[in-house]
């Protein structure tokens, strides 16, 4: 089975390699090859190709900040914008290191939803007041501070992928 993705063709083996990497990106090629019953050189070549194509963007450690003792708060910020400036605002927000995720959404009004991190409430407020509110096209902002996190996962690839 092959799946097309913006000109890149992935077959079953590629998808299975991606599954393995999502579960453990540090697993040696040899072990992945044994697991998937192919040569480790094949695993190496396929991974290299997917890295070059940008299908695999990066490898990173997921740090549990609470266990690491980092003091921070997370907030979900909803930014109401002038529709003409919405894209600009989203792009500018994406450049701030305090902003971890940015989405645009269309309900009754055009919204930008962003996940923001700060050391404390005062720093969160100063960031929003001095860096977000002054952006051209921002009409108003609603912010909710997260009090407890129940789930935080990335999307894991599962099962086989049908061809188009």
């Amino acid at each position: 089975m092959k799946t097309k993705n913006r000109g890149n063709v992935l077959d079953d083996l590629d998808w299975r390699i991606l599954q393995v990497l999502q579960e453990n990106a540090r697993q040696p090629y040899m072990e992945t090859g044994r697991c998937l019953q192919v040569a480790h050189s094949t695993i190496h070549d396929r991974i290299k190709k997917m890295e070059e194509q940008g299908i695999i963007e990066k490898y990173m450690a997921i740090v549990n900040l609470e266990k690491a003792g980092a003091k921070y708060i997370t907030a979900i910020m909803t930014v109401f914008t002038d529709p003409k400036e919405s894209e600009n605002v989203a792009e500018k927000l994406s450049k701030f290191e305090e902003v971890l995720e940015v989405f645009t959404s269309l309900s009754e009004e055009l919204l930008i939803i962003a996940k923001v991190i700060a050391e404390d409430q005062e720093k969160l407020h100063l960031f929003i007041a001095h860096s977000v509110a002054p952006l051209a096209g921002v009409l108003r902002i609603r912010t909710s501070i997260v009090t407890k996190k129940y789930k935080d996962e990335i999307f894991f690839i599962k099962g086989s992928h049908d061809s188009e």
Partner: protein, 108 residues
């Protein structure tokens, strides 16, 4: 700096990054901002009273008038008001009175 140029400086229009942005609580921006003392006085009349209470008690008005508008006299008057801990329309009326009186003095 003579008093005329000092007054003109306080009354100047500010760039948007130096405007005063009215919030009702942490991170909740009302959509109202003031880019000059004159604009600030106008917004005192219009903005949600919660916003005036939030900023007065945090000392934000005092800080902005001192550090951004560079009007120590107005900042000091707002600080005195802050000590009285007014709320509701009393706060709105008193803040409006203080700021508009100062504005008239500076315009002379």
């Amino acid at each position: 700096m003579n008093s005329f140029s000092s007054n003109s400086r306080i009354l100047r229009k500010l760039p948007r990054e130096n405007a005063f942005y009215f919030f009702t609580s942490i991170g909740n921006y009302t959509g109202m901002s003031a880019m000059s003392l004159e604009d600030f006085i106008q917004k005192i009349k219009e903005v949600n009273i919660k916003s005036l209470e939030f900023h007065l008690h945090r000392g934000d008005f005092q800080k902005w008038t001192d550090e951004t508008l560079e009007d120590k006299e107005l900042s000091e008057k707002i600080r005195s008001l802050q000590l009285l801990k007014p709320v509701g329309n009393t706060l709105r009326d008193q803040l409006y009175f203080i700021a508009s009186k100062r504005f008239e003095e500076l315009k002379k």
